[in-house]
Every structure is written in structure tokens, then in C-alpha cells.
């Protein structure tokens, strides 16, 4: 088991993700957020466990399901929520939206073309290497994305150039309605690391502590300049692909089974068992974060819309 501070830090990250996500879902269903919404609940432990090793200046990239990594990384909650609502006070003044969150304060960016984050994540790693900084670039993507050509190209190039990149694959079993067995010719992407001569690891992504421990050597390795690695974490989308997902394709009982593995109660049990905190301590953390998240919603809802003139700004700097 990890040390007390680590456990509590992981817990805060998990709760921050989950609470923010629930609020976002609520606002979406009220019509305050336009377009799609791909939530991260159920995968919380993956980015919590990985990002606990990262510094704010460590570059981090993700895909359409990008709230989790940004929340885990410690992004600006208010600006993030305002961005989801398309407000001027948002991270990108409303131009990006929920699939295009850019928060330079924690070196974070995401985008919604599947597989596109992997090449982009090589860049900051290359820059760090050339600038002789000991940064680690992390990129989160789905098991669906692992069949995109960019996966191959990016792992190969990272391996060749020994770039400090950690590739983290959320294996949540589904790419929209396509099960992994219909998308991936081998059971585990972690095994594909051998095609690039780099370490690959498989971890239970419903267990924040397990992810934390599995990521540790990989992050350290990258930080020491020993090159990239690939971590695959099994997890699940508790809310389906997006908020309108009919979920008709799920086998009966699958959702319930995975909800039974929820990483939050699991970590709560571990914390209490280890004597790292009491039920009340945890309630206090949850309350504190809930308050914070409520404030983000108030902030976002009361924020102004971007002025029309903004539409033509920033095509070029």
C-alpha cells in the first residue's frame, strides 16, 4: 500500500473527477452544454493514478474523453466548467469546448480526433529532450484508438528517439458500440509494446493504488531519459459513450458488474483499513470538493458569452 499522503492525494483526485463529472452531466441535461458530452466516470482511477506522478509542467494530452486527465492533473476547474458552457471565461474563451480543452497552467491539451493525440504528445517530449528538461509527456487514449495508425507511428518514433513519453491506454472495453474483440486482433495492447522494444504493462484501472504503482517505474524511467513505455489500464465508462448512448449493445449485467468495481469506494475502504483516515475525514474531503465544483458551476453559469468579434480572432496569432 502507498503512503498516507499518496492515498489521500489519490482520493482527492478521484473525487474531483467524479464530482465535476456529475455536475457537468447535470448541466448538460439541463441544456447548458451544447453538443456531445463524453464523461470519464468509471475511468477515474487511471488518470488519478498516473497524474499523481506528474508535475504541472509535464505535458499531458488526451482525446474526446479528456475531462479526467485534466481534473487529475489539477487544471483550473472554473475555467474548465466555463469552457464546457461555451463562455468567454472558459479555458479557450469558448472556442474549444468539452473536447478541446487547453490549459497551459498544467500543460494540458486534448482533441477529439481519435488517435491524434499520440503524435502531438511526442512534440513536447522532443522539445523537453532538446531543451534538456526532465519532463515526462503523457498521452491518454482509448483501446479503440490503439488501432489507429498513429499508435504505431508514435510508439515507434518515441522508441527510436527515446522520448520521455508515457502512453496510457484506457481499455474500457468499448469504442462507442464496438467491443474490443471487434477492434483489436490481440487481447492486450500492453503486449504490443514488444513491437517497439519498449516496456508494456497491464494494470487494473479500477484501482487507483494499483495504477499509481504501475505508473511509477514508467514515469521514472521516462524522467531518467530511458525512453517511452505503454501502460494499459482496464476500466469502464459508467455513463456510456456519451450522454445519449442508448447502451443497447451492452451484454446484460456488464454495467452492474463494473459499477461494483467503482474505484472510489475501493480506495475509501483501503484508506480506512490502513487507518489513513476516518469516514468523516472522507466526507469532509467530498464536501469540500463538492463546494468547489458547485462554485465552478455558478461561475460558469453567470459568465458572459464571448463577443461576436472573438469569432475571427486567433486564427493566427
Amino acid at each position: 500500500m502507498v503512503a498516507k499522503e499518496v492515498a489521500l492525494d489519490l482520493y482527492r483526485r478521484l473525487v474531483r473527477i467524479r464530482t465535476f463529472e456529475e455536475k457537468a452531466a447535470e448541466l448538460w441535461h439541463q441544456g447548458h452544454i451544447s453538443g456531445e458530452l463524453h464523461l470519464y466516470s468509471g475511468q477515474d482511477a487511471v488518470s488519478a493514478g498516473v497524474c499523481a506522478h506528474l508535475r504541472p509542467e509535464d505535458p499531458t494530452a488526451a482525446d474526446h474523453r479528456g475531462h479526467g486527465p485534466l481534473l487529475a492533473k489539477g487544471g483550473d476547474l472554473k475555467k474548465m466548467m466555463a469552457e464546457l458552457l461555451g463562455r468567454k471565461t472558459g479555458l479557450c474563451q469558448g472556442k474549444g469546448g468539452h473536447m478541446h480543452l487547453f490549459d497551459p497552467s498544467v500543460s494540458y491539451g486534448c482533441g477529439s480526433i481519435i488517435g491524434a493525440a499520440m503524435p502531438l504528445a511526442l512534440g513536447p517530449a522532443l522539445a523537453a529532450k532538446m531543451q534538456k528538461k526532465d519532463l515526462v509527456s503523457t498521452v491518454f487514449f482509448g483501446e479503440g484508438a490503439a488501432n489507429q495508425g498513429t499508435f504505431h507511428e508514435s510508439l515507434n518514433l518515441a522508441a527510436l528517439w527515446k522520448l520521455p513519453v508515457l502512453f496510457v491506454c484506457h481499455d474500457n472495453r468499448w469504442a462507442v458500440s464496438v467491443p474490443k474483440a471487434q477492434s483489436t486482433a490481440v487481447p492486450w495492447n500492453a503486449d504490443r509494446a514488444s513491437a517497439y522494444g519498449i516496456p508494456g504493462a497491464l494494470v487494473d484501472g479500477m484501482d487507483a493504488v494499483a495504477v499509481y504503482e504501475a505508473a511509477a517505474p514508467l514515469v521514472q524511467r521516462a524522467r531518467r531519459g530511458e525512453g517511452p513505455s505503454l501502460l494499459e489500464a482496464t476500466c469502464y465508462r459508467f455513463r456510456g459513450h456519451f450522454e445519449t448512448d442508448p447502451l443497447v449493445y451492452l451484454p446484460a449485467g456488464e454495467m452492474e458488474e463494473w459499477k461494483g468495481k467503482d474505484p472510489i469506494p475501493k480506495l475509501e475502504r483501503q484508506i480506512i483499513e490502513q487507518g489513513y483516515g476516518t469516514d468523516q475525514d472522507l466526507v469532509r474531503i467530498r464536501e469540500e470538493i463538492r463546494n468547489q465544483v458547485e462554485q465552478t458551476a455558478e461561475f460558469a453559469l453567470s459568465s458572459p458569452w464571448p463577443e461576436p468579434e472573438l469569432a475571427t480572432q486567433h486564427v493566427f496569432v
Partner: protein, 360 residues
């Protein structure tokens, strides 16, 4: 028999009828077993194939299958995603017939959703049809009504060339519902100003085709030619109705396909009205608006007294509805442009008596 069908039902019916008629027709793409579930039920997994997220591989495979005797309908989900397979589409699918000296034919339809207006952000709202129209070897079809949706799809499937078939998400209700979340709006159609005539209309049950490359004059008029495609045709028609009340006669032309392009219909109309307004949901520069005015100017520069374009701005598509509204053409921006042109025309004619008809 003619029934009222939705735009989406019309496309489905076209594909289903063609799949019954021709066993070589099959469907592949991401999530097609979910999105096209009725086809899966009817035709089975062999002919309705889910793919991994590997657009280069499965679009290339579709091309190869097409020149090997099959007639694939390959779904690219959204046209925004074309970039991960652009080489397969533009350098191979589009060129193989030509480079083989006509020996290989590629009877294939790429079906993709396109268009914005519901606040879904930059990678899910583009139309970018000009990119494909610029590259020789692809036909580019953009239906705007259920009737055309069915007839153009059947024609596209029967064509022996690759056809890109773009369905706008504001017209295809399942897309809009999935992406914008139908159940949270009292009236999602009203929310996003969905054009009724585009989403539901009369569709004959028996298979029929609409030819590629034949524009449709949706409304006759003598004062101003408005050329458009897709959702913007409906926006233009709404403006035309509005201005008709003030006695202005707008002629609204729906191109229906960019390749082949029915230049004739446009030129003839402009010769009559002497004024051209092109409305395009694609980016303004280096696109459809330019091609249309070039076609007119080549043949009849002297007939063109005035030209304007209302198009998506040359920016990425902003997520915020407050900005997207500014970035995409709207009834307001179309009306403003049309009014400015009509007024200008009036100015001239009031100064100079009858509208001058200048020959060469």
C-alpha cells in the same frame, strides 16, 4: 406509393432497396451495426461490418473491394475525420481509375455526416466539401431533401465511380439527436432552426434515381440568383420567402452535387437576374463560392453586375453557440447580403431608368 419520410429514413430505404437488388452492395464502418441496426438485422454481419477505428485501412479496403467486384458503402462517420484517411481517398480511391487508364472502376459510396450549427465544436461540425470537389476523381453529393436523399443515394450506389455522399446533421435526425441530445430539448428542431422541408417530405416507395450533376431551381425569381447546397438552401429559401413579401424575386438554386457541377443552370439564372449570391456552409476562401462565380464570369462576365458570398468564415468552427452563430451563415446574414444587393440594383435602376442590359 409516396409517403412522408424523414431524411434519415429516405437514406435508409435507398440503401436497403439497393442491398436487396444487388448482393454486391455492402456497408462497413465504425458502429454501423449500431447505427444501421435495421440493415444488420436484415442482411447480417457479412454485409454490415463493424470496423476498428482505422479509417485508412477500411477505406482502402473498400476501394480494393470496389475494384474487385463489390460495391461498398463505407461510412466515415463524420467528414471531419477524413484527414486520417485522406491519402486513401484522394490519392488512391479518386485516382485509380484514371491511372489505370480506365481499367479499374471503383463503384463505391463514402457516406459521412457533415455540418454544424448545434454547438459541437471544431472536429465535428465541418463541411469542407470543397476539399473533395477540388481533387479530381471523386463525385460529391449533398442532398437537401428526403426526396433527393433517396434518389441521390440510389444513383450514387449505382454509379461506377467513387461518390462522397454528405448528409447534414441538421437534416438527419438521428445524428442530431445523438450528438445534441434530443431528449433534453423541448423541441430540438426549433432549438437549432432545423429546416422542416429538409427533414421530412414526400418520398416514393419504389426505387428511383436523381441524377448527379443536375441542379434544382427550388424557387424562381428574376431579381437575384442565390446558389447554395445542403442546409443553406433552406436558409436561402426562408430569406426568399421573407423578401417575396416585399416584392423581391429571389431565384434559389440547389446544386445537389458539387462534382459534377451544373454550371449551366447557374449561368442561365445569372444571365437573367444579373446578380449572384452564393451561400456556403463551407469556408469562404478557395471553395464553392469562388468556383460558382468563376463559372459565371468565364462565360458571362458582362452579365454579372453584382456578386456576394455568405459563407462560413475562414476560422475553425468555434464550440460556443455564441460564436458558431457568427461563424456560420444564417438567415440573418443571408438576408442582409441579399438586401444590400437588391438595394444596390435599385439604386442603379432608379438612377438609370430601366435596368441596363449590357451586351458584350
Amino acid at each position: 406509393m409516396t409517403r412522408e419520410l424523414t431524411f434519415a429514413e429516405a437514406i435508409h430505404e435507398a440503401i436497403e432497396q439497393e442491398m436487396i437488388r444487388d448482393p454486391k452492395v455492402f456497408v462497413l464502418g465504425e458502429d454501423v451495426q449500431l447505427l444501421r441496426h435495421p440493415l444488420l438485422e436484415k442482411f447480417g454481419e457479412e454485409r454490415v461490418r463493424n470496423t476498428p477505428i482505422s479509417e485508412s485501412a477500411f477505406i482502402g479496403a473498400a476501394t480494393g473491394a470496389a475494384y474487385s467486384g463489390m460495391r461498398p458503402i463505407v461510412e466515415l462517420m463524420m467528414i471531419d475525420f477524413f484527414g486520417v484517411a485522406a491519402d486513401q481517398i484522394m490519392n488512391h480511391m479518386a485516382k485509380i481509375t484514371y491511372l489505370s487508364g480506365g481499367q479499374l472502376r471503383v463503384p463505391l459510396v463514402i457516406r459521412a455526416a457533415c455540418g454544424g450549427g448545434y454547438g459541437d465544436g471544431a472536429h465535428q461540425s465541418q463541411t469542407i466539401w470543397a476539399l473533395f470537389a477540388h481533387m479530381p476523381g471523386l463525385k460529391v453529393v449533398i442532398p437537401s431533401t428526403p426526396y433527393d436523399a433517396k434518389g441521390l443515394m440510389i444513383q450514387a450506389i449505382r454509379d461506377d465511380n467513387p461518390v462522397l455522399y454528405l448528409e447534414h446533421k441538421l437534416l438527419a435526425d438521428y445524428w442530431l439527436g445523438l450528438l445534441a441530445g434530443a431528449n433534453r430539448y423541448k423541441d430540438i428542431q426549433a432549438e437549432f432552426n432545423v429546416p422542416k422541408a429538409g427533414t421530412k417530405g414526400s418520398v416514393p416507395e419504389a426505387p428511383y434515381t436523381v441524377p448527379l450533376g443536375k441542379a434544382e431551381i427550388r424557387r424562381q425569381g428574376t431579381d437575384l440568383t442565390v446558389v447554395s447546397v445542403g442546409v443553406m438552401v433552406h436558409r436561402a429559401l426562408a430569406v426568399a420567402e421573407h423578401l417575396a413579401a416585399e416584392g423581391e424575386g429571389l431565384e434559389v438554386i440547389d446544386l445537389r452535387s458539387l462534382v459534377p457541377l451544373d454550371r449551366r443552370t447557374v449561368i442561365d439564372s445569372v444571365k437573367k437576374t444579373r446578380k449572384l449570391l452564393v451561400v456556403d456552409e463551407d469556408h469562404r476562401s478557395y471553395g464553392l463560392t469562388g468556383e460558382i462565380v468563376a463559372s459565371v464570369a468565364e462565360e458571362a462576365a458582362g452579365s454579372l453586375d453584382d456578386f456576394k458570398r455568405v459563407a462560413a468564415l475562414d476560422t475553425s468552427i468555434p464550440f460556443s453557440l455564441a460564436l458558431e452563430r457568427v461563424m456560420l451563415p444564417s438567415e440573418e446574414s443571408i438576408e442582409a447580403a441579399a438586401r444590400a444587393m437588391l438595394k444596390r440594383g435599385k439604386g442603379v435602376s432608379s438612377r438609370g431608368g430601366p435596368k441596363p442590359r449590357r451586351g458584350r
